[in-house]
């Protein structure tokens, strides 16, 4: 398609749009209300503003660059669609509801074409085809952005979860505790291991307690990871104690034939803490006057 043809097509769309904005807008809004306008998620005034801006941009862009959505002139248009789509993804719209924003414009525009090209079927078909192509491309783009923003959200949440779930806490001068909650997999263990070792260096701690009260199951892989963490801490000069071993987990460990003999294990965090204090040579005395 030559530049001129494109421009001609664009010009036609401009003809259709110009002077009719108000009517198209009204019909478009009606169309959306009929199908999927979510009054609970977006205000009418907000939607109207979006639609008005969309039509304005559509007119401007097609005037300049025709109906080729890939052309760079569609940059602002794409940006606007992206914002609309991302906003809807955050507000909790369904994918179909988001796509309808663009697709529901078809009927008002087609109606307009029909009235303008009465009798000239060839021109009408051509015009409809190019308009459909443009709107489809826009709809697909909206979906793409929608999907991407959803994926970004999930990825961000995963990362946050990973960070949240591996806090290293200081119990005493020289004693760290790492309460693990949830299932340990390779990726998480790597984070756990790194944050513990980093904390050992930073706080100069000689003792580290890994509390696995919140770990539902221990299999060979998890046990292997735990052992690796303990060994790495030992290489750096810190002693590790594993606490919170539940009866079922103790049974599983023995049945699996995992050798935890070199590691100090305690039933509770309190017991592990008292062992750690003992190794550091710290002891508490109950105040006789207060007891």
């Amino acid at each position: 398609m030559s530049e001129m043809q494109l421009n001609q097509k664009g010009a036609k769309l401009v003809d259709i749009l110009s002077g009719q904005e108000e009517r198209i807008l009204a019909e478009w809004m009606k169309e959306m209300t009929g199908s999927t306008r979510r009054g609970d998620l977006i205000k009418e005034s907000e939607l109207r503003a979006e639609c008005t801006q969309f039509l304005k941009l559509l007119k401007q862009t097609t005037e300049a660059a025709g109906t080729d959505f890939q052309s760079p002139s569609f940059g602002p248009m794409r940006e606007m669609l992206g914002d609309v789509s991302r906003g809807r993804a955050q507000k909790g719209f369904k994918p179909s509801e988001t796509a309808t924003f663009v697709f529901s414009l078809k009927r008002p525009l087609f109606d307009q074409i029909q009235t303008q090209y009465k009798g000239d079927t060839d021109a009408m078909a051509a015009e409809m085809w190019s308009l459909t192509e443009l709107l489809d491309a826009m709809g697909l783009y909206t979906m793409e952005v929608f999907q991407k923003s959803r994926e970004d959200m999930i990825r961000r949440q995963q990362e946050e979860l990973l960070e949240l779930s591996t806090p290293v806490v200081k119990l005493w001068d020289g004693i760290l505790a790492l309460p693990i909650i949830g299932t340990l997999d390779s990726a998480r263990t790597q984070v756990v291991m790194e944050s513990l070792l980093q904390a050992i260096v930073q706080t100069n701690s000689r003792m580290a307690i890994i509390d696995i009260t919140g770990v539902p199951t221990v299999d060979t892989v998890v046990a292997q990871h735990l052992l690796k963490t303990v060994t790495a801490a030992r290489l750096m000069g810190a002693d590790c104690i594993i606490s919170g071993v539940r009866p079922q987990i103790a049974q599983t460990i023995v049945h699996l034939g995992i050798n935890l003999l070199d590691v100090t294990t305690k039933a509770t965090l309190a017991a592990a803490f008292s062992v750690a204090l003992q190794r550091l040579g710290i002891s508490f005395v109950r105040d006789a006057a207060k007891s």
Partner: protein, 129 residues
Amino acid sequence: MEKIPILKMGDFLLVTIQVDMHDRLALALQDDLTRTISQTEAHGVLIDISTLEIVDSFIGRMLSNIAAMSRVLDAETVVVGMQPAVAITLVELGLSLPGVRTALNVDAGMELLRASVKATKEMYGSRLH
């Protein structure tokens, strides 16, 4: 040629590795250290690897070997200041350095050496009586 200095501090030898270890350097260190231990009759060796950032299986095994050799020569070895990344690498390589004592820093390592030398002396002392 580069050389890793071995410093004598009282009863102990202090080795600080501040350059990238390559194989030849590691072997030279092994030679030097064993010779110095027997010359000075040191009772403890402290190897500071806090600036060492890259290790491979050879260096790992060398650390383990040095510890074993020193023990034969009646000197306790303590490796101090291992970086987290180095520790993880060694564990992943399957080198858990059994028999090598470790400490967080030079201070802690010295304390450990002193304690172990004292314990040895007490043990022999009690046997003599």
